[in-house]
């Protein structure tokens, strides 16, 4: 195996004989993304709607009722939550809450949905990024259940992809989610809902000072 490593590296070096040995990698000018403006929350909500991800905007005080209402609408009787989900978020829920303590895939498949927060959200693309940090849990949690209710604090919404990349740490496993699972494999027409959650709902929580 080590011989193959040396062989490939030697072949790469031989192939690059035209590159001066003392050449340093050239810096690349990268155009910035969309500038941050006041309308980020509107833009984010618009993009989510485009994906049929059903955004709902709520004030911080109304969040517990909004979570309960969303689960009620969905008819979700048993939902899984990350162990560190703020208790207040689900304080008005009638649904049975299952805190994740390492449930196996079959157990995750048996619940009606999952409620999480997120690390960052991207307005320009309507993307939610989970990094396994606070209120998000491990990756399987937001994958196996068929319904994902995600709470996005408006303060976490950034303008464009470069801002999100800058805020995230690759040390954590990351999942970028843009709408429900979908496929374009049949005649290149988009169909929502394949293996990942077929329904994604987003509660955008305006917090003081974000202008949201």
């Amino acid at each position: 195996m080590n011989r193959s490593r040396e062989r490939i590296l030697a072949r790469v070096r031989a192939a690059l004989a035209d590159v001066p040995r003392d050449e340093e990698p050239a810096p690349v000018a990268v155009p910035p993304g969309r500038a941050a403006t006041d309308g980020l929350v509107d833009l984010f909500a618009d993009r989510l709607e485009h994906y049929r991800a059903r955004p709902v905007r709520v004030g911080a005080a109304d969040l517990p009722e909004a979570v309960a209402a969303a689960l009620r609408r969905r008819g979700a009787g048993r939902v899984v939550v990350p162990a560190d989900l703020p208790e207040e978020w689900t304080s008005r829920c009638e649904a049975e809450l299952v805190a994740d303590d390492g449930l196996d895939p079959a157990a995750l498949d048996a619940v009606d949905g999952v409620v999480t927060g997120c690390a960052v959200a991207v307005a320009a693309t309507g993307t939610i990024v989970l990094d396994g940090g606070a209120a998000q849990g491990r990756r399987a949690l937001t994958l196996v259940p068929d319904y994902h209710l995600c709470v996005v604090d408006a303060a976490r919404i950034v303008a464009d992809v470069p801002d999100a990349v800058a805020r995230l740490s690759p040390v954590r496993p990351l999942t970028w989610i843009s709408g429900p699972s979908a496929t374009s494999d049949i005649e290149l027409n988009r169909v929502e809902g394949v293996h990942g959650p077929r329904t994604l709902e987003v509660l955008i929580v305006s917090s003081p000072g974000t202008g949201a």
């Binding site: 590296l9 079959a106 399987a140 470069p162 843009s178 293996h195």
Partner: protein, 476 residues
């Protein structure tokens, strides 16, 4: 198992058969027209698309010009994050490495995320020989696998199938691979997607080993990136205990921040979306979240040959978006199978002959599978000048004598044109027999050229003779 491309006729023959298939042409026309429109909208929304495209090209060039150091950096970072790195010179070695890794787990089944690299090396077939079953989980790959078909598009391998055909394939073959399709299955895309979901659900929940490729590998951090839509990728990358990723050495980007460019370029150029539904990024192993064991297999398999060619090197910038296929007039009519490779379309016409060489008739024909219209270059998100590389490869084919007719013709032309007296003689000779020259060539390889064109008329008197006569007459 999907069939391999071995023994495929060269492009002109395969394309002729494909063009005669009205259903195929209809399917392709519909699908490529749809995606061209969606892509156009997604790209037009980005003000500085051209600058972004230039940045993508520059980052890839930077990577390729210093690939040795980035490969070593990647290896170090992946290892530090708890992963294992393997190196494979060619397809046989990569297949052997993966087979051995799967065997070591004690399991005989793997779930797969759609990956061009594993198709290129024929991994599924190699695993089958070792008694290991590989289950494709991408919807289009599933269709191809169930139909024992071959992929015909980089992004949508079953683009040549319409919904009615897919329904029939599901009804016929799903039972052989696991949960059967419901008997009352319709050809509504939603119903077909639902059937795929049910068919694969149990498989995902119990899978112990997964095999994937990667869209990007970040040298600086050791992070691997997979973009997908359906969630089958997340299933494979998250639920199993062991993950094996086979990645071409050209998939590297130097730094974490470089991803901001490619995450803007790839989804818009590929599926025409602002962002694809799911992107997974992982660095080695994360305790308590996802696979406990991670193996990265770095694949050469001809890539260093591409790297060694200063003109052809730009081919390795490719991020497999498949936009060039969707705009190509030749691809739209001939379909993907005619290219005889897992890489069809314009990018395949330059990548395959460089990876495999141009020794075989089929591979030597590929650089000619183009009208050089340049639409592929226009849409390429990393600005690969595909026409330039096509012409470069044609030169190579002619030099090696791969097309003897063309070579003899060029040799004769150079002999005639290289000497003034020989040229004058040839022109007079042609003028003398002009009434005998047909409008179409009856025989030989050049006859095809005149299927759609008339031969130019030969003037009665060569220009140089007319000029000499005129001078003489003037002087009188």
């Amino acid at each position: 198992m999907s069939r391999t491309f071995l023994g495929m006729p060269p492009f002109p023959k395969a394309a002729e058969a494909a063009v005669a298939d009205a259903q195929l042409r209809h399917n392709l026309h519909r699908a490529t027209r749809t995606i061209r429109r969606t892509r156009g909208r997604a790209v037009a929304e980005v003000d500085d698309w051209e600058a972004l495209r230039a940045a993508g090209a520059a980052i890839k060039d930077r990577t390729l010009r210093h690939l040795d150091r980035y490969l070593e950096q990647l290896e170090e970072a992946v290892t530090a994050a708890g992963g294992h790195v393997h190196w494979a010179v060619d397809a046989a070695e990569a297949n052997a490495v993966v087979t051995e890794l799967v065997r070591a787990t004690g399991h005989r089944e793997v779930v797969k995320v759609k990956s061009m690299a594993t198709q290129e090396i024929g991994l599924n077939e190699a695993l089958a020989e070792a008694g290991i079953t590989a289950y494709e989980t991408d919807l289009a790959e599933l269709i191809v696998q169930l139909a024992e078909d071959r992929p015909s598009h980089i992004l949508v391998p079953a683009i040549h199938r319409n919904r009615a055909e897919i329904r029939e394939i599901f009804l016929r073959a799903m039972a052989d691979w696991g949960r059967p399709a419901p008997a009352d299955l319709t050809d509504d895309p939603r119903a077909l997607a639902e059937a795929a979901r049910r068919h694969l659900r149990e498989r995902f929940l119990t899978a112990k080993v997964a095999v994937s490729g990667a869209n990007f590998a970040v040298a600086e951090t050791g992070t691997l990136v997979v973009l997908e839509s359906e969630g089958n990728g997340r299933m494979c990358l998250t639920l199993p205990e062991t993950l094996i990723s086979v990645v071409g050495i050209e998939k590297l980007v130097p730094t974490w921040r470089d991803l901001e460019v490619f995450l803007r370029l790839l989804p818009r150029s590929s599926t025409g979306e602002r962002m694809n539904p799911y992107t997974s990024m992982w660095t080695g192993v994360a305790p308590g979240d996802g696979p406990r064991e991670f193996h990265l297999v770095l694949l050469d398999n001809g890539r260093t040959d591409v790297l060694a060619d200063a003109v052809g090197r730009q081919t390795l910038r490719c991020i497999r978006c498949s936009a060039c296929l969707n705009v190509c007039p030749v691809y739209e009519r001939a379909g993907g199978h005619a290219y005889g490779s897992v890489y069809p379309g314009p990018i395949g016409a330059i990548l395959t002959p460089q990876l495999r060489g141009t020794a075989s008739e089929a591979d030597a024909a590929l650089p000619y599978a183009s009208s050089l219209c340049g639409a592929c270059f226009e849409v390429c998100p990393v600005a690969i000048d595909i026409p330039e590389v096509l012409v470069h490869l044609r030169e190579r084919v002619v030099e090696q004598g791969g097309r003897p007719g063309e070579r003899a013709l060029l040799a004769a032309a150079s002999w005639t044109l290289g000497d003034e007296r020989r040229l004058a003689w040839a022109q007079r000779a042609a003028g003398a027999v002009r009434s005998l020259v047909p409008r179409r060539l009856p025989l030989g390889p050049a006859a095809a050229w005149t299927d759609t064109r008339d031969l130019p008329e030969i003037p009665a008197e060569p220009f140089r003779d007319w000029w000499a006569r005129r001078e003489k007459e003037d002087g009188r």
